[in-house]
Subunit: 202 residues, 2 copies
């Protein structure tokens, strides 16, 4: 994702901006549950940065729509885009609110953890062992969506967070992976990531 530091008008297709806003906002909710469950300050910080990115994208989208709308007909047609993008922004704000519980050390009440844990069935955090058959594999080559009904939504590598990793990204020993998907796939994938004796994914 390109850097967008200042909110200055750039000609980016509205569709691309909106698609990124929608994808990021959904991802952020799952990442926020994960950050709260595992009390992960760095991930929470990452979510707050994503929130600010989604804010920027929303400004950019509004500017682009204004420029695109030449008459009442255009304005009518584009209203749904603006509304749907604002909805993505609200979802992103909600994720930021949850992340702030972690970064501000408010403390996650056991009751919140219990409720979020219900989501744990579809969220997993696992550290890749040196012996794991995942080491050296590309994210795309694992074909996790088809094989296990899951996808990797983030990789924590040393000091970096790779959010929504590309298919070409190689998994390394020591990576902390966050995946989401169906319960059975989550369990199987966690075993693969943390495996001790060498076993094949195929």
């Amino acid at each position: 994702m390109p850097r967008l530091e200042k909110v200055k008008y750039k000609a980016v297709p509205v569709r691309d901006i909106f698609l990124e806003m929608k994808n990021l906002s959904e991802l952020m909710i799952d990442l926020a549950y994960s950050a709260a469950l595992f009390n992960d300050h760095e991930l929470a910080q990452e979510i707050l940065e994503l929130e600010s990115r989604v804010d920027t994208l929303d400004y950019l989208l509004e500017m682009t729509i204004m420029i695109a709308a030449r008459d009442a007909h255009d304005a009518e047609a584009l209203t749904s885009v603006s509304t749907a993008a604002s909805a993505a922004d609200k979802i992103s704000d909600a994720a930021g609110d949850i992340a702030a519980i972690v970064t501000q050390n408010i403390g996650v009440h056991p009751l919140v953890s219990q409720v979020f844990e219900k989501t744990e069935e579809r969220l997993m955090q696992a550290k890749v062992t040196a012996d794991s058959s995942l080491v050296g594999k590309q994210v795309g080559e694992l074909d996790l969506a088809a094989k296990m009904g899951i996808d990797i939504i983030a990789i924590h590598r040393e000091k970096d967070w790779i959010i929504n990793p590309e298919k070409a990204e190689h998994i390394r020993s020591g990576d902390i992976l966050i995946a989401r998907g169906v319960h059975s796939g989550i369990k199987e994938f966690k075993e693969l990531a943390e495996q001790k004796p060498r076993r094949s994914i195929d």
Copy 2:
């Protein structure tokens, strides 16, 4: 789900209120995409009613927390519950905003549909044929989460919408099912629902 028409304090465990808020808000986002994609006015109306229910639950939760907090320590401990519940409320508002595009006949711009269609891979709407092997089966007995990695999030039966159906609910011929989950499961389940020659799910 019990009716909660007036926002009047009732002793309901905070955990139950928060769990329902979280589950409803997530469901509502998927239902809102579905309503926009299929231009489904009745479903959109249903989402707006759910939004108002989540608002009510949020008031109730805040009241319950106020009563529960006796001192600064309690207040500190309970702040995360209030924040997380407000986040669920924001997500529900976002779903309501998307639903309102449909109910207010603003018209869903093709660009919005295109972006939402990406989600279609994990959302499905299918009408159960008389010949479908699903007819007469209970939702729970199908064991869809384990078998196909999907779940039924709503049933449209004649004039009624059954949101988040119970395990004991029987599927009838003519039901319109909304399911979400992995792409492969969605495809397989749609075929089962719409099947012409009799085939078994087992």
